[in-house]
């Protein structure tokens, strides 16, 4: 089975049920299934080939994604928040010959951008499919490969997570079970569908035969009016809820009839839980934890324990085994800190074209999450930070060392240091400390970031310094940088 087979199954059993909504537009399972067929026919001559999918969030994106699946090819959704050259880097690294793109994105990136592809298929707003060029080049991909999701393509070398039909279906089935999703549910998709969390909402609700209502986070007015249309399940990262909470009255109104509010992509706080419960005493709040490398979901905190155990990630979802390993790769006793590891049918096939990174991530069938954790006596898991220096900004994991290297090599400076600082909506944001090569204006750096990085990576401040923020043992780490930052701020 593939994920799109569930659309076909639901189209057969319940053809008039609404599958997707986007503003005024709605589409039934039977129409969705037909459209997927039609778009898939434009890729029929290909088999097991990589297709980039370039589309803004919306019904079109889901149709195109499912059409790539149905034609038995591999979908590689491009995160549209990336600047053109970041996208080009993904395309170069992943050697993608074919692309399927919406009309809007085709005109945004322009004809020249698409010259690199052998096959370009443009899907217009009225669903007509226009193949601008086509050349089938045989590819030798892992035969189980269905979807590649990028974890971080912002800076450095982007890593593509290879997922199979089995991964996608196993994780969607577990999510349906823990959230109790039924065909009567209407889910809100307000986060990016190009990443693991958004993708898991699409898969689980289409598999369950329910409806998904799609709106982007750009315009709050649209979100609040969607919430009035009978949303029963809402999904967001913590910053999604914080953004909505800027409008407390509307927030209260929006969640009044929501039966379940799920979060993932970062630790949720008491304030969000309290506001949700205030708007609807019967609402179930369910924090979830996962990684792209695990398709999406690994653990969840049952809603009845949210108040008492909000600082934990709860327990493994059905079909997943979680454990904490010590430095010798042995299972650690409760309350002993080690690395959180996981196994299950949702664990990725590996990183795209990167066996070395794969071998480091999956050892003896266990996926190493990179998160430090301990088991609690009741069987729940508590996270205790990262093994590496990654910074969580919104729901993005950012490698500060890669970001520093990137800014350094594109500006006339001899050192750049990324400082994690707290941010009321995103949890964390960054400031920069920069060692300039000569007299320069801080706005040059800030303008460079604006142009080349997504909004969440725009530095709150750019401070010039004259020496390296080293720790006592001469190393540079998040800790030494934060110390250096405080010293600079104190002397200002």
């Amino acid at each position: 089975m593939r994920i799109d087979s569930f659309v076909a199954k639901n189209a057969n059993e319940n053809p008039h049920q609404i599958a997707l909504e986007e503003g005024e537009k709605t589409i039934s399972y039977s129409c969705l299934d037909n459209d997927i067929d039609r778009i898939a026919s434009s890729m029929a001559e290909f088999g097991n080939c990589r297709f980039a999918v370039l589309a803004e969030s919306g019904i079109q994106y889901i149709k195109m994604l499912m059409a790539v699946y149905r034609s038995d090819n591999t979908a590689i959704p491009l995160p549209i928040e990336l600047a053109t050259f970041n996208m080009e880097r993904i395309l170069d690294t992943a050697r993608i010959n074919n692309i399927i793109v919406t009309e809007a994105q085709y005109s945004r990136f322009g004809e020249a951008f698409f010259k690199r592809f052998e096959t370009v298929i443009v899907v217009s707003d009225d669903d007509s499919v226009n193949t601008l060029c086509k050349r089938v080049i045989e590819e030798y991909n892992n035969p189980n490969l269905r979807l590649v999701l990028y974890t971080s393509g912002t800076t450095g070398t982007p890593k593509g997570v290879m997922l199979s039909d089995r991964n996608l279906i196993a994780n969607a089935a577990s999510i349906i079970e823990i959230l109790g999703i039924t065909p009567a549910d209407k889910a809100a998709l307000v986060i990016s569908p190009h990443h693991a969390f958004g993708n898991s909402i699409i898969n689980s609700h289409l598999m369950a035969g329910g409806c998904i209502s799609i709106v982007s986070m750009n315009f709050m007015g649209l979100i609040f009016s969607m919430m009035r249309s009978g949303i029963s399940m809402f999904y967001g990262v913590p910053s999604t809820y914080r953004l909505l909470l800027r409008y407390p009255e509307k927030f209260k109104d929006a969640f009044r009839n929501v039966r379940l509010a799920a979060t993932a992509g970062g630790a949720i706080d008491d304030i969000i839980v309290k506001n949700l419960k205030d708007s609807n005493p019967d609402i179930r709040v369910m924090p979830m934890y996962g990684q792209t490398e695990a398709t999406a979901r690994l653990a969840y905190l049952p809603s009845e324990d949210v108040e008492e155990f909000v600082d934990t990630i709860g327990k493994a979802i059905p079909g997943v085994i979680l454990d904490v390993f010590d430095a010798n790769n042995c299972s650690a006793e409760p309350n002993i800190t080690g690395e959180l590891v996981a196994r299950g049918d949702n664990i990725m096939l590996g990183y795209l074209d990167d066996e070395i990174a794969t071998e480091r991530k999956i050892i003896n069938g266990w996926m190493y999450t990179g998160d430090l954790a301990k088991k609690l006596p009741n069987g729940y898991f508590k996270l205790l930070g990262r093994k590496d220096d990654l910074i969580k900004i919104g729901d993005h994991r950012v490698n500060p060392r890669e970001l520093e290297k990137y800014i350094e090599s594109n500006n006339d400076v001899s050192g750049v240091f990324v400082v994690p600082v707290s941010h009321e909506l995103l949890g964390n944001a960054i400031s920069l400390m920069v060692i300039p090569n000569h007299d320069m204006d801080a706005t040059c750096i800030s303008s460079f970031c604006r142009k080349n990085l997504p909004g969440y990576l725009h530095p709150l401040e750019v401070l010039f310094i004259d020496h390296l923020p080293l720790s006592e043992n001469g190393k540079i780490s998040n800790r030494s940088i934060i110390e250096g930052y405080h010293n600079v701020k104190n002397s200002m």
């Binding site: 315009f219 007015g221 604006r450």
Partner: protein, 84 residues
């Protein structure tokens, strides 16, 4: 009206959302062109609220009002006009 439009363009250029030589049609979509995303929109909203001393009601936070120079200009005019 021209003045409001120019102020918004100055803000977008001053904050490096746009290059100083970018030519942008009044009805073109700022989000689809990749000029502004949800985080950038927050900065723009703060700028509008502060510079024009207006509060934008939640229901007006829609693409019609915020996704183009034309929409933003009309929104500001409307809110200023209604207030006085």
């Amino acid at each position: 009206m021209e003045k409001i439009r120019d102020d918004i363009i100055d803000f977008l250029k001053g904050q490096s959302f746009m290059d100083s030589n970018t030519q942008f049609a009044d009805n073109e979509s700022l989000t689809k062109a990749g000029i502004i995303d949800s985080i950038g929109l927050l900065e723009l909203l703060d700028h509008i609220s502060e510079s024009y001393s207006i509060e934008i009601p939640e229901d007006m936070l829609t693409p019609d009002n915020l996704d183009s120079l034309q929409g933003i200009t009309n929104l500001i005019l409307k809110l200023k006009y209604e207030r006085s």
